[in-house]
Symmetry: C2
Subunit: 275 residues, 2 copies
DNA sequence: CTAATAGTGTCTATTAGACAGTATGTT
DNA sequence: AACATACTGTCTAATAGACACTATTAG
């Protein structure tokens, strides 16, 4: 083996293809909250957590649904690729994105070895005005916890998908989310697993961070905000407790929202913490 | 473009090299707790959080220190590769490992495009008896929070490394750990960043999971356990509060530990939660 | 007036923080 | 006896949960 005198000299000789190389994709769980009007002028609209899915038009997994994503270019960081996909898919920039998990099973893509780094993005759906890419559709996410598995139902209004996953309990000290897919006919690749993991992530994180504010417009009522917490956490919250916690994170604007058959509510905005 | 009638037919024609491919490595932060005897027969030994580093003997970054790691083979999952590296490095199997983050900057490796999925492993150092691989060494990890940056000092007893990082505050609603390296002369690649991220991860996770028990032997005293919490969290805890919290996670054994110049203490073991 | 949400006051229960005190080994 | 840790009791402060009450609008 040749010995080198400097790093520069070593690099000149280096052959990147001495090992067989692989491909990397970025996949994005784009979450938002959608409202469904209720036929009662007094009542608030019902809120759902929604995820954006794309129908595959080519092999592999032709006609199945999958997460928006794409290959990471050789001269592109994972972050750049993720932003590019987000822009393509939603026409939005400066969106909140965080990395979720990197899935690296050998057979997760039948074409070849593909590693997937998955992400969670949160957006205010109102910002998208007919700018959705072609095969993309919003699906309401309805998790149902059964006795020993989790069923997730995805409903676009026209089409209903569903799958079942189970949390791996390899180690009771571990809180890493690992899901095993028990049943899945609708989602391509290992995306059922990714959706389950992402759901768990935002459910945990909404309690100890301020990510919820990415899901609402600039100005919002505390009722709306509370609904978002409720829909993500999957349980009802008590008003006084919610307001106590949220109070220090928001500031009242001069605006109010009227129009419902009830007392109008003040509009608030997110108040950034000082450091 | 040719159209295919079935997925099998499509796959037969697929060329994986139509896009330039890249390499993936797994890097592991192997943490343990080491004890340093104090020259006072009454006192408990002082505890330190330690991380295992390897001195690079080849280019690139020759003679710098880095995390144990290696390339993920084309027929190997990330998890398998990680276990293989752990076994090589420590001769241990069935160790606690969790995925930390995937770093994918374009220039993080000067040789070629390499993506790195980093991991955190926690071990009871006593299990390793002279089985450490050749160039590996334990370093005490001493974080020092300065006014607007974090300094991390790594001390093997013979060699002292240090670097400075700063938390990125790109978005106050985000709690994703992103560190920028301000100063680093001792660590290869972006491993300074990885260490800072991993430290933050276990600091957070020790509070809401039971990962601490991976750092102690089967049987341990509550004093030892408390020291581990203290050294990871970087702050002292009050005994009664600590025992209140931990009480439901442990069970007393019939053994006691004597020998210190003070009251002997009961030995406990981890009690798994029922589901 | 009524149904519905907006918003507040307050009591209680639970949890966290603090401190003081007792217990028991080794030298 | 003295020191250092082991371990517990209890008071207090802070936080979370629960419920009841008032306010205000469109129809």
């Amino acid at each position: 083996m040749k010995t080198y005198k400097s790093e520069a000299e070593f690099l000149k000789d280096y052959d990147p293809n001495q090992f067989e190389r692989l491909s990397l994709t970025t996949d994005i769980l784009i979450f938002s909250v959608s409202s469904e009007e209720v036929n009662n002028y007094r009542k608030l609209s019902e809120k759902f957590l929604s995820v954006l899915l794309v129908k595959r038009k080519d092999y592999p997994f032709k006609d199945k649904w999958c997460l928006p994503g794409g290959f990471v270019g050789i001269k592109e960081s994972i972050e750049e690729a993720t932003k590019r996909v987000l822009k393509n898919e939603t026409n939005l920039e400066n969106i909140y994105v965080e990395q979720l998990y990197t899935f690296g099973e050998v057979d997760r893509d039948p074409r070849m070895r593909v590693i997937s780094t998955s992400h969670v993005a949160l957006i205010d759906k109102n910002l998208i005005k007919g700018n959705l890419s072609n095969n993309a559709k919003w699906f309401h996410v309805v998790p149902k916890q059964h006795k020993d598995y989790l069923e997730i139902i995805l409903d676009s209004g026209e089409e209903v998908l569903s799958f079942k996953v189970q949390k791996k309990i390899s180690d009771s000290m571990n809180s890493d989310y690992r899901y095993e897919v028990l049943e899945n006919n609708d989602l391509a690749f290992d995306h059922a697993k990714v959706i389950a993991s992402g759901l768990e992530r935002i459910k945990n994180k909404i309690e100890y961070t301020d990510i919820a504010f990415h899901l609402v417009p600039e100005e919002f009522t505390l009722g709306e905000l509370q609904q978002i917490y409720e829909v993500v956490l999957g349980k009802e919250l008590l008003d006084p407790a919610f307001r106590r916690i949220i109070k220090e994170k928001v500031e009242k604007t001069k605006h109010v929202q009227t129009g419902g058959g009830h007392r109008p509510s003040a509009l608030f905005r997110y108040k950034k913490k000082e450091l």
